[in-house]
Amino acid sequence: MTKLNAFGHRYWPTIALFIALLAAWQIAVSFSGIREYLLPSPLSVWHALWHGDVAWSQHLWVTTWEIVGAFLMAAGVGVLLGTAIAWSPMLANALVPFLVFVNTLPKVAVAPLFLIWMGYGIFPNMLMGALIGFFPVVINTAVGLSQVEADMLDLGRVFNAPQWKIFLKIRIPNALPYILSALKITATAAVVGAIVGEFVASQKGLGYVIVTTQSSMNTSVAFAALIWISIVGLVLYGIVVLLARLWAPWAEGAD
């Protein structure tokens, strides 16, 4: 079977569903007489994507940077904190309640505060995305590092391995699938955070486009911006899946 055949074989239900939804959308708009500014047709959104006078590449660049930065920050900080928690029960007791508190704060309420403390721009939006996405990484890192099979740890003891070697050779590989799984969530969270930040204050970006065009009731362009955002999110997610396949192939079950 050629690669294309294999791809089609695996994904044809998804493609069929996608096409069916698009058709249903177009039919609904054509026959319900619903106003353009409430629900634009797929055709008008397509038009907005390619023929509108929005500088898509500029906005795409800004938002993508924010999302990537948010993702990397969340991943880095998340792994560090997770490691600290797994390493020392005392740190765990100190940190975990605080982190849970931070995680439960509604970020939409925090965003205006970010504006006051840091102003507007790419960095505050990166921070917002990181804030939303770091928690799953922390938890999964901690779990992955501590929940190791007893047999594996015994094996290490048998070989008289020092703690750091056990950490490096046994705990970290064990934690990898957990961490990568959490990063899939972080990919989505980074997108949400970046856009929330842009909604509150921005000069460029896909969130900026949505807010601007929504207020002038130019809904088809707002939809087009949403599509771009989903594409960026999907690409990031896809990268994480690929990394998972590369670094922890033994853990890849159904995906």
Partner: protein, 328 residues
């Protein structure tokens, strides 16, 4: 004996009649509670709506765009919205019309801090201004710039959400923020009394209708009497607010307990200044001037980049307006 019987029957009929004649009427306010909403609460509290057979509900919204969408889709019968946004929405297919005015003088304005004042239009060149993208100041800025001979390209605009406006200015995150003049008390509360500088566009030759009452095609066609009654009762509420603002404030606080009385009172008084004009004194509170309306439509057509031109006649109607005199 017979007389008493007739009286009883008449009373019974009258009661039954008025009970069934209490039509439900939903009015979408444009925002959370602000000074210029007091009039409707006053009309409600004093029974003006009830006397005309209307059971009115007042509902908050998230801006003119939201109230327009509510009215256009039938989720509300009438509502408050900025005239420029109403005009622009006509180009996108809404079927609403302006049926009465609120502010007569334009409240468009730019706030800045005393530490870096933007007092004259020329000061705006090189400044960073914050505004929600839908605000009239943002959309109309090219017109203001042209009128006052400033280079619009030298002014930097940043999108901010409405809730972040005041804090953004108070914390010097931008040089100026676009907001109605009536907002002054709220800005002073955050930045300190005497620290806020205003640049009212009315002082620099700019004229545009702003806050207005609009209704849907459905309401105008199917419930014209109710709409007319609602408008008249509402302007009676305005009359009472103008005659005794303090009493109006008491009613407002009673109906909307979460408001800050001092700030909203000052806010309300500034709004009243925009209504004590010759036009209203002569033609009644909320009356629309045809020439000015068409001039506003022209401005929107020219500067707001609409997909198609809006015709002045489509935007408003005086059919539902009843003259309510301003108090002496």
């Amino acid at each position: 004996m017979r007389r008493a019987l007739w009286l009883a029957v008449a009373t019974l009929l009258a009661c039954a009649g008025s009970a069934s004649a209490q039509e439900k009427f939903k009015f979408a306010l444009n925002w959370f509670a602000v000074g210029d909403h007091a009039a409707y609460w006053v009309a409600l509290d004093k029974g003006y709506y009830k006397a005309k057979g209307l059971d009115v509900t007042l509902e908050n919204s998230k801006g003119s765009g939201d109230s327009i969408a509510k009215v256009d889709t039938g989720r509300a019968d009438a509502g408050l919205a900025d005239a420029a946004v109403v005009i622009a929405s006509k180009a996108r297919g809404t079927t609403i019309k302006i049926v009465g005015m609120v502010f007569d003088k334009t409240p468009l304005n730019i706030f800045s801090l005393k530490s870096k004042p933007l007092a004259k239009p020329k000061d705006l060149e090189g400044a960073t201004l914050g505004s929600p993208p839908g605000d009239a100041q943002r959309q109309m800025f090219p017109a203001f710039a042209k009128l006052n001979h400033i280079d619009a390209s030298k002014v930097k605009w940043v999108n901010i959400e409405p809730a972040a406006k005041i804090a953004a200015l108070a914390e010097k995150r931008m040089d100026g923020v676009a907001d109605y003049t009536t907002g002054l008390p709220l800005y002073e509360k955050a930045a300190g009394k005497g620290n806020i500088v205003m640049m009212p566009w009315a002082n620099f030759g700019f004229d545009l209708y702003s806050m207005s009452i609009m209704a849907s095609e459905k309401t105008m066609k199917e419930r014209p009497k109710a709409l007319k009654a609602f408008l008249e009762a509402s302007y009676m509420g305005w009359r009472d607010v103008m005659a005794d603002p303090k009493a109006a404030m008491v009613i407002f606080k009673k109906r909307v307990p979460e408001i800050d009385v001092d700030t909203i009172y000052a806010n309300m008084l500034m709004g009243l200044d925009l209504m004590k004009t010759k036009q209203y004194a002569e033609h009644g509170i909320g009356s629309i001037d045809d020439k000015r309306m068409c001039a506003s439509v022209d401005l929107v057509n020219t500067y707001m980049g609409l997909p198609k031109k809006v015709d002045c006649k489509d935007v408003y109607t005086k059919d539902f307006y009843t003259k309510v005199d301003m108090p002496k």
